[in-house]
C-alpha cells in the first residue's frame, strides 16, 4: 500500500483510501479538479497531493505503470479516458440522448437506412458539428468526408453550416450576455474549409484512400471525425470472389477502427439497406452481410414510422436499445416537431 508511505496528513490519507485510491498508479491519471471533487477538498490541496505522489513515484525504482504488457491500460484508466471523451452532437437533443451525448469518439458508428431517410444529412450535420468550438461544448476539430455516391451537395452543407453558426450566436446571446468578446467569428465558408472532402469512384480507390488516411491524419492532427458516405456502394457490384470481398471489407474495418483509437476520432459509416430473403418472406437488413455487421462498434438504424423519421440503436456495447424521433429541416437534423416526443425504451 504505497499511499501509507506518502508524506501527507493523516486526514488526507484517510480521505484518499475511503475514496478508493489505494495505490500510487491510481493517482497517475486523474486531474487535480477531479481529485478535489472526489475527496471534497480544495483544489490546491488536491494539487499538493498529486505533486507529492508523482514525486515519490519518480523516485521509485520500479516502473510507474504496473502493466503486464507494454501499452496495456488498467480498466480504471480506461474509465477515466472514456469519461473525458467528448461526443459529437447531432443537433437533435432526443437523438443525442439515446446516443449517450452524441457520436462517440474512438469508436466506429454505423448508420444505415432506406434511401431518403436522412443518412447524408446526418453525415453532413456531424461534419459541421465537430467544428463547434470548445467554448460551446464541441470538439473544435475538423472533418474528413469521403463521398462514394456523389450525394454531397455543397449548397446543402453551406445551409447547415449557416444554421449551426446562427444557433451558436443565439446561445451566445442568451447565456453570455456580458461576454461581448465571445462573438462568433466563424463564417460558413470557414466551416466548409475545415471539411476535407474526398470523392471516390471505385472500391480500389476507397481502399487506397483509407490506407492513405494514416499519413493524412498524422499531418492533420485536428481531424476529429471521418464520415464515409456510403461505405457499401462500391462493394455491391459483382464480386466474382465473395471471400475476397469479405477479406477486403474486414481489412478496411480494422484499419478504420485503428485510426479511431490511435487518433481519438469518431468514424461514422453510412450504410444502405437490402432485403434478406428468408423462406417465403423478406426482411430488411443493412447491406454487406453478416460478417460486416460484426465489425462496427455501434449500429444505428434509421427508419420511417408513419410520417416520422426514427433512429434505433441496434447494437452498442454501452448504450441501451432505444429509439428516438428526429426530423430533417432546412437547418439540418433537429428534434422532431411532433408533440409526443417520448423516448421509447425497448
Amino acid at each position: 500500500m504505497e499511499i501509507w508511505r506518502l508524506p501527507i496528513s493523516a486526514s488526507q490519507r484517510g480521505k484518499l483510501i475511503s475514496a478508493g485510491y489505494t495505490s500510487l498508479s491510481s493517482l497517475s491519471s486523474i486531474s487535480s479538479s477531479d481529485l478535489a471533487r472526489e475527496l471534497k477538498v480544495s483544489e490546491s490541496e488536491a494539487m499538493n497531493i498529486l505533486k507529492v505522489a508523482s514525486h515519490s513515484r519518480g523516485s521509485e525504482t520500479s516502473n510507474a505503470s504496473c502493466s503486464i504488457v507494454e501499452g496495456a491500460q488498467s480498466a480504471w484508466d480506461m474509465l477515466h479516458d472514456e469519461e473525458s471523451l467528448m461526443h459529437i452532437t447531432t443537433s437533435s437533443a432526443d437523438l443525442d440522448n439515446i446516443l449517450g451525448g452524441g457520436i462517440h469518439c474512438k469508436e466506429v458508428t454505423e448508420i444505415g437506412g432506406v434511401p431518403g431517410i436522412g443518412k447524408t444529412q446526418l453525415g453532413i450535420q456531424v461534419a459541421v458539428n465537430v467544428q463547434i468550438p470548445n467554448d460551446f461544448g464541441g470538439l473544435g476539430g475538423k472533418a474528413i468526408y469521403i463521398d462514394t455516391e456523389g450525394s454531397f451537395m455543397v449548397e446543402r452543407a453551406f445551409q447547415i453550416a449557416e444554421a449551426c453558426i446562427e444557433d451558436m450566436s443565439e446561445y451566445n446571446r442568451f447565456l453570455r450576455k456580458d461576454f461581448q468578446e465571445c462573438k462568433i467569428k466563424m463564417l460558413p465558408q470557414d466551416i466548409l474549409e475545415n471539411i476535407f472532402y474526398f470523392r471516390i469512384c471505385s472500391y480500389t480507390e476507397q481502399i487506397a484512400l483509407i490506407n492513405y488516411l494514416d499519413k493524412f491524419l498524422s499531418e492533420h492532427k485536428d481531424v476529429k471525425v471521418i464520415v464515409v458516405d456510403s461505405v457499401t456502394f462500391h462493394f455491391r457490384q459483382d464480386f466474382d470472389d465473395m471471400a475476397l470481398r469479405t477479406r477486403v471489407l474486414s481489412g478496411m474495418a480494422l484499419k478504420l477502427m485503428n485510426l479511431a483509437k490511435r487518433f481519438s476520432l469518431a468514424v461514422v459509416l453510412l450504410n444502405q439497406v437490402t432485403t434478406k430473403h428468408t423462406e417465403a418472406s423478406f426482411q430488411l437488413a443493412l447491406a454487406l452481410g453478416d460478417s460486416w455487421s460484426h465489425t462496427c462498434t455501434n449500429r444505428i438504424v434509421l427508419y420511417w414510422n408513419g410520417n416520422e423519421r426514427y433512429a434505433y440503436i441496434d447494437k452498442s456495447p454501452s448504450l441501451r436499445s432505444a429509439s428516438a424521433a428526429y426530423s430533417v429541416t432546412a437547418r439540418g437534423i433537429r428534434n422532431s416537431s411532433s408533440s409526443c416526443k417520448r423516448i421509447k425504451m425497448m
Binding site: G116, F198, R236
Partner: protein, 295 residues
C-alpha cells in the same frame, strides 16, 4: 490524394426551361449526380427529357450547360416529331442564342438501347465520345429513357436472378457516376411504376422518401426496379396525373350555373434529394413544352 476544396466545388445545374420548376428544384437538374424521374406512362417523363436536352444548349449565364446531350432511349419509336415541335418553340423563345441556320436538334445525339449489357457496352464507348465532343460542343447531359424497360423482361423472379439484377444496377450506376464526376455531367434517368395491389404489399410497400405512398390515376403505385435501384440514384422525382372533377362557375343566359368539369391535374413531387426539401408543384403540358403552374 488530395482533398477537394469545397469552396471551389460548385454544383452546376441545368435549367428545365420553366422558372417555377427551376425554383422547386433549386436551379434545375444538378450535375455530377443521377436524377431519376418516376411516373406512369403518359405522365410527361419523355417531355421533360426532351425539354432538358434542348435547354442544356443554353449558355451557362441563362441556366444551361452550353452543351450537347446524349439521349439513350429504350422504348420505340423515338419521338422525333415532338422533338421538332419543341425545338421550334425553343428556337423562337431563345432566338438570340441561336443563329438562323443553327438547329438545336443537331446537338442531341440519339442512341437506342436494347438490353442492360448493351447499355454497359455503350457506356464504355461514351468515354471517348465525350472526350471528342470537347472540340465542338461538349456533351454534358446524358438522358436514359427509360431504365426500367431494360430490366423488366430479362430476369426471372428467383432470388438468384434478382441478386444478379441488383449487382447490374450497381455496376451501371457506378459507371454513370464515374462518368458524371469525370466530365461533370448531369444524368437524367426515367423509371416506370408498378401497381401495389392488395393488403399484402411486401417489399414494394416499403416507404422510400417523403411520400408515404405514390398515387397516380387513382391507383397506388411504387417505382419499378425496387429497393436496390433506389439506392443507386441520388435524387428521385415523381410525376403524378389524376383526373379531377372541378366545379366551375359559368355565366349562362338564364343566370349563373355551375358545371362539373373533368380536369387533368398533373403534379411533380420531390421524393428524395440531398439538397431539396419535401415539395411539389403543379404543371401542365402544352405544345410549347412542360411548364409549372402557379396556383
Amino acid at each position: 490524394m488530395t482533398p477537394q476544396s469545397l469552396l471551389q466545388l460548385t454544383s452546376q445545374k441545368c435549367t428545365t426551361g420553366c422558372p417555377i420548376l427551376d425554383r422547386l428544384l433549386y436551379g434545375g437538374i444538378p450535375c455530377d449526380s443521377i436524377t431519376e424521374i418516376v411516373a406512369e406512362s403518359g405522365s410527361g417523363k419523355t417531355q421533360i427529357c426532351l425539354q432538358l436536352s434542348l435547354h442544356a444548349q443554353l449558355p451557362v449565364s441563362h441556366g444551361g450547360l452550353a452543351a450537347s446531350s446524349l439521349y439513350l432511349h429504350t422504348e420505340f419509336p423515338f419521338p422525333f416529331r415532338r422533338l421538332h415541335q419543341l425545338c421550334l418553340s425553343f428556337r423562337s423563345s431563345n432566338a438570340h442564342h441561336f443563329p438562323v441556320n443553327d438547329n438545336p436538334c443537331d446537338r442531341i445525339f440519339v442512341q437506342s438501347v436494347h438490353s442492360a449489357d448493351h447499355l454497359l457496352e455503350i457506356m464504355s464507348k461514351t468515354d471517348p465520345f465525350i472526350e471528342n465532343s470537347k472540340n465542338q460542343v461538349p456533351a454534358r447531359l446524358i438522358v436514359i429513357d427509360s431504365i426500367a424497360a431494360l430490366f423488366r423482361s430479362d430476369f426471372d423472379n428467383t432470388p438468384v436472378e434478382l441478386k444478379r439484377r441488383s449487382s447490374l444496377f450497381f455496376k451501371i450506376s457506378s459507371k454513370l457516376k464515374a462518368l458524371a464526376k469525370r466530365f461533370n455531367l448531369a444524368v437524367l434517368v426515367t423509371n416506370q411504376v408498378v401497381d401495389l395491389v392488395g393488403p399484402n404489399e411486401g417489399i414494394n410497400g416499403l416507404r422510400i422518401g417523403n411520400l408515404g405512398c405514390l398515387h397516380t390515376s387513382g391507383r397506388r403505385v411504387c417505382p419499378a426496379l425496387g429497393l436496390a435501384w433506389a439506392n443507386c440514384v441520388n435524387s428521385r422525382l415523381f410525376l403524378s396525373r389524376n383526373e379531377e372533377v372541378i366545379r366551375e362557375e359559368n355565366e349562362k343566359p338564364n343566370g349563373q350555373s355551375c358545371d362539373f368539369v373533368k380536369k387533368k391535374m398533373r403534379k411533380l413531387y420531390v421524393v428524395f434529394a440531398p439538397h431539396l426539401p419535401e415539395s411539389s408543384c403543379e404543371f401542365e403540358i402544352t405544345r410549347e413544352g412542360l411548364f409549372g403552374v402557379e396556383r
